[in-house]
Symmetry: C2
Subunit: 193 residues, 2 copies
């Protein structure tokens, strides 16, 4: 890219309540059937797919003007509220293909958590609530969880060249899970086996 | 950087009303006396420096965890309301040292504009208002303007390696100016001479 073919500036509407970006250049939805293998309670997942006509768990809008290294793209993820068994709705979770690339998340409405883990096994978590910028440093895989009763809408901002590596986490996702215990979200280690 | 010394995740409070980031790793203020040469009306600038005890025009908070290429940093800029002559308060404006690096701005409170120009002389502008993400593409110099009556607080998000090149715009800033005409902000070409 050089200046003649660089993208034009723009001010892009990102509604905090819906997260629907009308100017999005890409959009996808993930239904519960797309997330088989990720939840602890496979039987309840199948029950919900059957009884609720395979509901959308989350969707994603992106505004992406180029693939040129150095450019930034951004978008929204909307995670609908709900649980599979006692486990809250989640995104697949991923490392960046370029492990040394960072990202930021900002909750616009709703509330949740980000689970993090590194390839050396270290884990941690951070809040995803309006009024905070959640910093996703290089080398940390990240998965988002809606722990509330309303859609969790968050904005993500990322270098275009970071890339997504879903395979490195294996089929299951992350080492920790977020489950409801006595009405509140708790982070626990994933049961072995 | 490798995973052992990568920064830790965190959720950083960014208050929309004040823009003051308590966890900031850097902070600076620019007073009117720091901005000599940038406003059209040099006499009114000197009058305000003298009569108002050199007020702060804008300030900046940054949250920056590493200098490693691929990392992202973010922060706030707060531009206080006011005019020098008929020209609204502004930031210096800059190109990125790495011209092919992009950025995003998000107004959190107040309202304003971003002026853009490229080295080939092309100019444009975009809104800086809450509910929108203002995309700053590669190769575009950018200056922010507070066109309202209250502080303009905006969040910026940028690759850490982008760098700031203030010199390429020359002492004056940008080819266009934002001035009040009949009570409303108007973008005009800078008067020659």
């Amino acid at each position: 890219m050089d200046q003649e073919n660089s993208p034009l500036p723009s001010a892009v509407s990102v509604p905090a309540d819906t997260g629907v970006i009308a100017q999005a250049t890409a959009h996808y939805q993930k239904r519960l059937s797309d997330l088989r293998g990720l939840f602890l309670d496979a039987a309840d997942l199948e029950r919900r797919i059957r009884e609720e006509d395979d509901p959308v768990c989350y969707e994603n809008y992106a505004f992406n003007q180029s693939q040129a290294e150095g450019d930034i793209f951004f978008g929204t993820t909307i995670i609908y509220p709900g649980k599979v068994g006692s486990e809250y709705h989640l995104t697949r979770g991923h490392y960046h293909s370029k492990r040394d690339h960072a990202e930021t998340y900002q909750a616009l409405s709703g509330r949740g958590l980000v689970l993090f883990e590194r390839e050396d096994g270290t884990t941690c978590s951070a809040e995803l609530t309006p009024g905070k910028v959640t910093y996703i440093p290089p080398y940390w895989a990240h998965r988002s969880i809606n722990t509330g009763d309303v859609p969790l809408v968050f904005l993500w901002t990322c270098p275009v060249e970071a890339g997504h590596d879903y395979a490195a986490l294996g089929g299951r996702g992350m080492r920790q899970v977020v489950v409801e215990r006595n009405g509140v979200p708790i982070i626990e280690d994933r049961p072995s086996g």
